[in-house]
Symmetry: C2
Subunit: 765 residues, 2 copies
């Protein structure tokens, strides 16, 4: 019997967002604020020989120009991995504000702060840079070859490996392989895709020469961003405030740590100018000079017995991490652990992940964080085994699913799984039995496919992951929670406040969560890794319980009653037994809190908590229509079934699934960053980047499985990233069902599909 | 052996203030912000019959007009007493945003929010108000008479007493009086004076229709202000954020609670307009429509034995509290307890304090809060007794001083006093022995005088007084303290951070105190009652000690050493004994904190503490020159000696004394609000209000007595208000010494002095 948990509470930031009243970074105005523009490299790889800013400096309205010649040479990593790498490991530090060697078209060369953005941009044109071009490499497989141009010779002398090969070893794959009776072996080709979040990167930095720095920005991890800034500028972390304004227009992983380089460049200029500086990425900069999803190739081999039992999985992932590491290493780890090894019971697993430097823009975190790539590879192989065995792909999956109590990844076993239910219900919704495997003819052919997967509910054990917060009762009995958790769009701050109000026993409508501000809340790792509601939720349950205890103990003393005989329910102190006077006439918490206040007491707790991790599970069933003459794939329906434990706010969970599935549709059939040597990536705008529109939006059946996870807060698991994990393999499976052609490359653009149709069928359609 | 406590650390907000870079309320700009102007009553007492805003509403750029007809009728009190009155007592609620009956010239009638301030002011002219004038009363003694016009008939039916007569009773005055051998009995006349702080009242309120309210403002008590706003607008306190920007340009008590009505009016308009609203008081509004110091009359009788021993004190204070109560009741209490009963051992005391309503602007808190008035009365009587006994006024004081352990005011005894040393050293500095009592002749006559007094180090037991805060170590070892304490000018945030860094054992330069923001810190009563450093300092010592313990315990476990054998000194974990390896090579706290962070641990504490109270003591010796032909008094020198316990930051303590003494000089010889019936107060600007300038600034000898208070943090007591308490009676005593004429009325303007010279000497000079 919950009051708020599990309820469709309208999101608390809804008014701000619906009316356009809410403040985003670009809305921030500070007195005497300057505006920044950034000069970027036209070369994919070049030494910056010299920079002459003398003409630019002379311009009226130009206040500061930052280059490699007058800013710190300190190495850093713009991603949160810089400050969250597990004990024993070291983060890769391969970036500088303005590098001596530019490593991709778009790399930062100089920045101008001026009275207006127009002046700043004009000044860029007057900066004279002498480059010495260097040989470049763009493809990760090419980059692995002997003699390839070296992107980061200081980090990876002699090769382009970003620090390390990421390895997973379970059992003995080679020995098991000999026991195999049926084998799938395929190489997958996966595109580089862009988050394309609505709000571009941005920051307003205000440096105060007494040693303080305040940065409004679009980061999805305020505390780690603060820590990175402290490192880069050699300032005490205590003197830096990083905050969202509080709204952030989407993130999807692209600003875990620094938002592009927005916070760092704005801060560097503000330090020079001693005035506030605003730097907002143009859409073009956002597309071409900030992290993407990793593309690359994955060789995947799966061995099974004739009854369908999986016995060995062998995967080699070579992903294009681009010019700088950011999350390269961690992402290859998640690709292996969650993408390939997280869904099925496979006793023998070998996984080698290669994060490879190239002279393209950096790939980093994007919703799914390696899991969609790994899942695509394994799910395609599972379908391949099913085909060879003539077995229903659904049955084959049922047979091999990971189970409660199975070891997942140290130190966490699987605490709950309802993946079978996910598969069943999504299959039923799509009409699996009636539609799958029906021979199609004619120009327009239909098919259905299914895929499943898992992800995480926070970042541990892959990296440091914890939260701290403050919780207090105001003198009128209202609940005030302060955390530096950001709200990047999912409505997680609404869900967290539901958990807090529920736990303390106070009305939601008088409660508030202050978020996204490192001055208001203590350490918080931020919003990433599908973690926020799940992990901070655990903290809030613990703190809420402690706060409630503190209140009841004070109340018992004040009221001369036994603490065991009272409770706090919806903001009222009531009797625990029916015959209590407090039942007839409860004491409002507001009255109690005020009496406490008059005696110098505020009900107040702090907490700091490392969460457990629970695997969320999910299955997508898709129905598609393929035009055999044009190669056009139309996704008719996706039935997305999710085991999220208990949905704290079902409508918000549905929103997460819907958005993610649509990104999965884009990943499957449309989205792709295409590179042209000498020019760079073509896709520098929404116009040139093919996001799915309403036209491509299929019918969506969002199914939240009734479930409960014993480790999560009120039984919840994470949902943020999961929605897109199985979408692409489900759609490709459906295309295979429709066309009889297997695809191991996405997106299934008309050109790519038509080419394969011609290869397979010639003109014999 | 302290590292920071007792050191002249340059104030941490110095850069901001010296360069003009710091933000004050008037610097705050929010998108879509409107500007407000207020229509004020031209009558001292009138019923507001009707308000027609139709013409004003039609103006381009006018967005909202607030009047009594469309705003809450809820009663409140703009001062913090509204939410800090001790349990058992109730605050006086006698104000409304726009009252139905205006009670002084300047009372609020309507407010306009418009696109520009100019439009808002223009719109005021188009508002048509019909008033029904009522009889008015201006003098508190007149107001006490039967049949006087009633200012607040709902609060005080049949009379103008603001709630209650404030009474102090000790021993039996009437019985003791019969034992008296020498008596002083005088009636003092004290002026109404103005704080005249540099920054006028102001607020920028941003109401969000989802139920949140954010108010940047000039308050000196952010949390109480938040609580008052929650009451007035019937909002949960948790949803209101009140913050300083963070700078406040002086306060001196005038904004304990709401700044005038700035926060309330800006919020009311923002709620109507659904846009941010800025309302900054003009200098004229600040002078004529915000609290002043209480003027009035005090009848004081002191009885002594022939040897000078005081035996009975009988005081009746009738002070003009003006149109609304604000702090009327509490102030009369402090006038009695600190001003009359706090300095000397007097076994029999009777005090009756009358806060009286009149139709003048409200009197409230101003540095000293009743103590200067009470002290003036008693010190004048002490001089009178000395004169009658032919005794050195200094010796008479020595004989009667309150001593350590004496009961002061429940529940606090006197914890320390160095008042004798204050008297001795100020007397020596002024040349007391050589100069006092020397017969003067001629036109220019010199004299010296002395006076002494006490005040408080916080507001308890007069009202609720406590602090709460958060303290944490960042992952680089830097200290972050968060509190909603404001910084209104004294540099107390520097002193508090000295205490925090000293206690925890970390460098001050990497430490930071976040202040003046109710979202960043929990409950804090704010900056008033000479409390902030003393009271919050006690909390910081307690929290710092707890934080240090938490760090050392974690360090001991991490380093496999005995916690008893390590210490934290200046940001390094060192060995407690000389032979420890940690002495040879200490572990930086930054490294330890980062290792803890990697393991999911932040060093973090919260605290909530009710302070004790210690009496600070002080004596001023003054030398003056009186021109017998013009009546002009020139203060040549003031030697101000203070027992502040240990001075945490001596140069900041000196600053407090210097500023306060100068306000005391103004109180003694220049400042006075003068009222003209039908027109109101004359003094509506710096031009028309005679603050002392450099010309009137005497030589200042600021003497900080070496002292130590066992209750205060690191031995400190309060200083904020004390400096002006004995200044006026010392100067008047010096004038008496120079002229041979006793004065019981201030300020000693040339006119007032010359009149008395003529009365006493006629033309026989």
């Amino acid at each position: 019997m919950t009051k708020y948990v599990g309820k469709n509470i309208p999101r608390l930031d809804g008014y701000d967002k619906a009316t356009g009243r809410g403040l985003y970074t670009t809305d921030i105005y500070l007195p005497h604020m300057l505006h920044a523009a950034v000069l970027r490299s036209p070369y994919a790889h070049a030494k910056v020989v010299s920079i002459d800013v003398s003409e630019a400096e002379k311009m009226d309205g130009v206040v500061a120009i930052a280059t490699k010649d007058n800013t710190t040479r300190k190495l850093f990593n713009t991603s949160a991995t810089m400050v969250t790498t597990n004990p024993g490991a070291e983060p890769v530090l391969d970036q500088q504000i303005f590098p001596d060697v530019v490593r991709y078209i778009g790399d930062e060369v100089a920045a101008v702060a001026a009275e207006t953005e127009e002046i700043a941009k004009e000044a860029l044109k007057k900066i004279k840079v002498v480059y010495e071009e260097l040989p470049a490499v763009y493809d990760p497989v090419e980059a692995m070859k002997d003699g390839a141009p070296q992107v980061q010779p200081d980090i990876s002398p002699g090769n382009n490996l970003c620090e390390t090969i990421v390895k997973i070893r379970l059992g003995d794959v080679d020995a098991a392989w000999k026991e195999g009776e049926v084998f799938a072996e395929h190489t997958m080709y996966l595109p580089r895709v862009k988050q394309a979040q609505l709000e571009t990167h941005g920051a307003v930095a205000s440096y105060n020469p007494d040693g303080r720095l305040k940065v409004y920005c679009t980061t999805q991890t305020p505390t780690p961003t603060k820590m990175i800034l402290a490192h880069v500028f050699d300032m005490p972390s205590s003197k830096i405030q990083v905050l969202n304004p509080p709204h952030v227009g989407g993130a999807f992983g692209v600003r875990i740590g620094i938002s592009g380089k927005a916070e760092i460049i704005a801060a560097a200029l503000s330090i020079m100018a001693k005035r506030p500086v605003k730097y907002i990425y143009s859409r073009k900069e956002d597309f071409l000079a900030s992290d993407t999803r990793h593309g690359g190739q994955i060789k995947c081999r799966l061995a099974a017995k004739k009854d369908g039992t999986f016995i060995a999985l062998d995967t080699e992932a070579i992903l294009n991490t681009g010019a700088y590491a950011t999350f390269g290493v961690e992402l290859l780890g998640v690709c292996g652990a969650c993408g390939t090894a997280g869904t099925y019971r496979i006793p023998n697993i070998r996984y080698d992940g290669y994060p490879i430097y190239t002279n393209q823009q950096t790939a980093g975190a994007f919703r799914g964080f390696g899991t969609p790539q790994g899942t695509f590879a394994v799910e395609r192989c599972v379908d391949s085994i099913a085909k060879q065995l003539g077995m229903d792909p659904l049955e084959l999956r049922y047979k091999n699913l990971i189970q409660v109590g199975d070891d997942w990844w140290f130190p966490f076993p699987v605490t709950s799984t309802y993946l079978k239910e996910c598969l069943e219900q999504s299959a039923e919704s799509i009409g699996w039995k009636e539609k799958r495997g029906k021979k199609q003819t004619g120009t327009i052919r239909r098919g259905v496919g299914i895929a499943c997967g898992t992800h995480v509910s926070n970042a541990s054990p892959f990296c440091v992951d914890y939260d701290a917060a403050y919780m207090r009762i105001e003198s009128d009995g209202s609940l005030h929670v302060a955390s530096s958790i950001p709200e990047i769009g999912p409505g997680v701050t609404t869900g967290l406040l539901q958990i807090a109000a529920e736990t303390v026993g106070v009305p939601l409508k008088t409660s508030r969560l202050v978020y996204g501000d490192t001055d208001s809340g203590p350490f918080d790792i931020g919003s990433h890794a599908t973690r926020t509601l799940y992990a901070a939720g655990q903290l809030f349950v613990k703190m809420g319980t402690e706060l409630k205890k503190q209140i009841l103990e004070w109340a018992a003393k004040f009221l001369y009653v036994d603490v065991e005989k009272i409770d706090l329910v919806e903001g009222e102190i009531i009797g625990n037994c029916e015959r209590s006077a407090l039942c007839i006439r409860p004491m409002p918490l507001g009255k109690l809190a005020y009496e406490a206040h008059l005696r110098g007491k505020q009900f107040l707790v702090h907490g700091c908590e490392v969460p457990t991790n629970s695997l969320p599970f999910h299955a997508d069933a898709a129905e598609v229509e393929v035009d055999m003459e044009t190669g056009m794939v139309k996704v008719l329906k996706v039935a997305a079934a999710h085991d999220v434990g208990v949905a704290i706010n079902p409508v918000l969970v549905e929103g997460q699934i819907e958005g993610a599935v649509l990104q999965g549709v884009g990943y499957a059939i449309r989205e792709e960053m295409t590179y042209e040597e000498g020019k760079g990536f073509y896709n520098d705008s929404y116009h040139k980047y093919m996001l799915p529109t309403m036209d491509e939006t299929p019918e969506l059946d969002t199914i939240i499985i009734e479930a409960f996870d014993p480790a999560g807060p009120y039984g919840a698991k994470g949902i943020g990233e999961c929605g897109l994990v199985p979408t692409a393999p489900a759609i490709v499976s459906a295309v295979e069902d429709a066309t009889g052609i297997s695809f191991y490359e996405i997106p299934l653009t008309p050109g790519r599909v038509l080419k394969r149709i011609k290869e397979v069928y010639g003109d014999d359609l």
